[in-house]
Symmetry: C2
Subunit: 554 residues, 2 copies
């Protein structure tokens, strides 16, 4: 058997070092540029994706009782025509059980090595994954290559780094000796064995199918638990491609491939509940809507539940150095992936009296207009940044908020379709931006999925901060931004967001502000309604396994 752990141990060591010091590092380049990859690889990847269209996806799992799947490309409006196994959960779980004892008894190094090899092989199929992600989640090609590709792989490796640390904290053996009264010395030889909890179900989301797919799978699998991936009905293919690789590596390493399986479904015939209700399911990882995330947190008390959902991410503007740079940074967030990211900005708080930009007074309207202008600029060439909409319902959402604009404030920028020459039937929408006051709290405190945002007029910058942080605490936030040249205000803002259980970024310009860096940014705090878990920290892994021990008198 190949020693995958040795093969990849330098990568693991580097990841552990990066997590410890949290500098910028990546194991998987996020650019699909042919300067890095050559011209053949991108082409071959696309061809492999295209060859899957209209076929029965080749995935043989025990318990198949038919085929399922109804993915439709947001770019073409056409069904992908790919079918996946429709699974009988009971039969599948019976098969999964068979592989568990050998996997449990494998050393942590063996299991981590296999996970490292899975990530490595997935890195080799990032091009086909990019096309699969594009035509399911609707992301742009570049984003699909990076966000749910290379960046997500980094999160997987990061999870392995933490799994390694947590498991390495438990020694395999110990010698123990002490005196009990006059009875002489007792000498014991102790052995400590890590034990998995049971099946880990990973529920993936529609927009970033593998964002939690890699890290959650790695965290559970490395600690000894078999994993069942449950893709979103509209984004099955990227998950299926991961499952194929994982099963291949497991089998090559002499383990049961059913340690990683997939249960696909359709909206009409969902399969999630039968996985949650199965007594063997011990761990649930979820990325998706706050509503279902909170349902899981409240109703699965007998399982370990890790959630990453969403909130109403905010920007508070007190002052800035460079109005255009700031406006452009915010506008970028409103456009990127059509604001379908968990890090997309929704609420932009600006004091009614305006701000100082480079020391000069700028009115509320001028700041708002600078952001709108920033959006218009990005829309000159939208395809790479905006991508498409994952779902028809987002068009309805936009329609609804367009209707609410008059009632609650005014429309700063209307949404409209985007033109992609290559994809005339793409489902698209440019950002809808409303201007509202604090009296519209009821509408802007909801997490709105898609390109809808609010410029919110606050009485003062402190009032803006109060509102934004209260919303983070009560409604959730994954990213929060403050712009200010006043150190005192920045300190207060950091304190206020932290007290609300939120992280905060200050004065970010010249970079995509939605970006969260693996190995450096703790993603999701677990202290506000936007999720209970973090990518990644020790708490993400430490309880996925338990410890049993034996001691023998010698």
């Amino acid at each position: 058997m190949t020693d995958y752990y040795s093969r990849h141990s330098a990568t693991l060591a580097k990841a552990i070092d990066a997590c410890d010091k949290r500098y910028s590092w990546t194991a998987y380049p996020e650019s699909p540029s042919s300067k890095i990859h050559g011209v053949e690889k991108p082409k071959a990847g696309k061809a492999r994706f295209e060859a899957l269209l209209g076929t029965d996806y080749p995935l043989e799992q025990p318990g198949e009782i038919g085929r399922t799947g109804a993915e439709v490309s947001p770019y073409t409006g056409e069904p992908l025509g790919i079918s996946y196994p429709k699974m009988d959960a009971e039969l599948l779980y019976e098969a999964i059980r068979e592989g568990m004892p050998a996997w449990r008894k494998a050393s942590p190094e063996t299991r981590i090595g296999i996970c490292l090899e899975i990530l490595d092989r997935c890195a080799d199929q990032l091009f086909e994954n990019a096309h699969a992600t594009m035509h399911t989640s609707g992301q742009s090609y570049i984003m699909a290559f990076a966000g749910s590709g290379a960046n997500a792989l980094d999160r997987g490796l990061e999870a392995l780094a933490y799994a390694h640390k947590a498991m390495a904290d438990v020694p395999a053996t110990a010698q123990w000796e002490r005196q009990f009264g006059k009875g002489g010395a007792a000498r014991l030889e102790k052995q400590y064995q890590l034990m998995p909890r049971g099946v880990g179900v990973v529920i993936c989301c529609a927009t970033f199918p593998l964002w939690n797919g890699y890290p959650a799978m790695c965290a559970s699998l490395a600690t000894g638990n078999p994993v069942v991936l449950k893709p979103h009905p509209s984004a099955i293919l990227p998950v299926a491609m991961l499952v194929t690789v994982a099963r291949e590596v497991l089998a090559e390493a002499g383990f049961d491939p059913n340690l990683v399986t997939m249960v696909a479904d359709t909206r009409e015939q969902p399969a999630t509940m039968q996985l949650l209700e199965h007594p063997d399911t011990a761990i649930v990882d979820f990325t998706g809507s706050p509503r279902f995330g909170q349902w899981l947190e409240r109703n699965c008390a007998d399982k370990l539940v890790f959630t990453e959902t969403a909130g109403c991410n905010s920007v508070v503007i007190e002052s800035c150095d460079d109005l255009q740079a700031m406006a452009s940074a915010i506008a970028h967030s409103l456009c990127q992936a059509s604001a379908q990211m968990c890090t997309s900005v929704q609420n932009i708080h600006i004091p009614a009296g305006g701000i100082l930009a480079a020391g000069q007074p700028v009115s509320f309207d001028e700041v708002a207009q600078a952001i709108v202008a920033g959006v218009e600029k990005y829309l000159e060439n939208p395809q790479v940044l905006c991508g498409t909409l994952v779902d028809d319902s987002i068009l309805a959402t936009i329609e609804r908020y367009r209707g609410l604009a008059g009632e609650h404030g005014r429309l700063l920028r209307d949404s409209g379709p985007l033109e992609y020459a290559e994809f005339p039937h793409a489902r698209t929408a440019s950002p809808l931006i409303l201007e509202v006051g604090g009296e519209a709290r009821d509408i802007y405190r909801d997490e709105i999925f898609g390109p809808v945002s609010f410029v919110i007029k606050g009485a003062s910058s402190d009032d803006c901060l109060r509102d934004a942080t209260a919303n983070a605490r009560e409604c959730g936030a994954i990213t929060s931004h403050v712009y200010s040249v006043d150190e005192g205000f920045l300190d207060r803002a950091v304190d206020a967001y932290h007290a609300a259980g939120a992280s905060v970024a200050c004065n970010l310009v010249g970079m995509p502000i939605n970006f969260a860096a693996a190995y450096s940014d703790y993603h999701v705090t677990g202290l506000n309604p936007a999720g209970n878990a973090c990518l990644a920290d020790l708490a993400f892994v430490a309880n996925r396994f338990r410890i049993v021990q034996s001691k023998r008198m010698i």
Copy 2:
């Protein structure tokens, strides 16, 4: 302010090393012998305990609305006559909130230092704690000094070692720099701040009031959470004495003493639910009955719940080297603390055809009789080993099983009162031992609190193992024992117990087999119904805090 962290850092470093290598070590000597402590300290401790009898316990907490407490000594049958503050939970929690921001902002080292100082001062009051434990939980003086004293302090220090490791895994700051496209380099300065979850409620048990008191308090407090201790109504005084020390140290260090408080109650007017229902309560640590432990696990989905309860601990006898030594070791467990320990043996499985002892066949009856004889031997001088019964209900339990003996098998040994010259009114009972067959499963699979045990006749040693491990899986086990000279059987037994989510000890003789060593034995696996948490591992601490971060562009 005194630098408690520096003062105790060598102790912490040693504890971390002991946890890593799991050798035998203690920071707190468990013997009350005057050879170690001199003659004055024991005497002064007893005097301090006696001075508290019949008084209003001096504990001033905001929100006191009267006095409560109705402890009765199991040794004298007399009320202790001590009153404690009766608390209004809402007012108390309001006061607790005030101290939280400063505590959250204190460094991990500051918080750990204060916890180390608390443990150190508690070590200095182990004598009064021993008398307080004796006259509430009913333990013998020696056991009260060690089990809920020195040994529990070690578990507290162990929890601090893990809290330190988990918190030290998060760096305070990082520099981060990378290139984004052609936009130039982005340079960020990042700060990572540990955030507590909220109030940690520690529900202590009647028999070992501080067994989880020290570790749970240390784990929550060190990670930034205020702690409310909720003693069992029959064992308040030891907890009150810890709370006094903790508040004193906190105040001396310049923090709000209300970061550690106590809510005492009586059986008639319990206060637990109002603590559990308070929205500020984020963490619950519980030691006590399996029934309430499971209720907590199932009904507090919005809180972190750590439980240690009990199960039907077993011994499987396949063969042995020395029958008397084995019988004596098992008998010790049946007698120690009148089998009111979470590690007490309840079910002794012996094959019907007998065993080989030192290579010679010994019948089932002879093995059973050897255990009974071992018990009789310990009962020649019972006070130090057996102590008293914490509660009248245990006498009723014994009565019940005495009645069931005829129906389900036969009485191997009847229970009777023990005579303690010093305490003529002590509530005592010697071990009741029933002989039953597998058809009595319904009665021996319950966890029975108190000196009731079963010698269970199995068809074969493998049958014994099957029964014992099935019971561990389904009904819980904290300790399990196997006696065998057959390496193959031992390996099978270790495997079978592990597969049942249980730890196991092999061939322990010449030492108290109930003993679980801090820094070496992972106490409770969390994989069977006897609890979901372990003293102590990373999972015991890693999720008691969360991480928020700020990043600033530079």
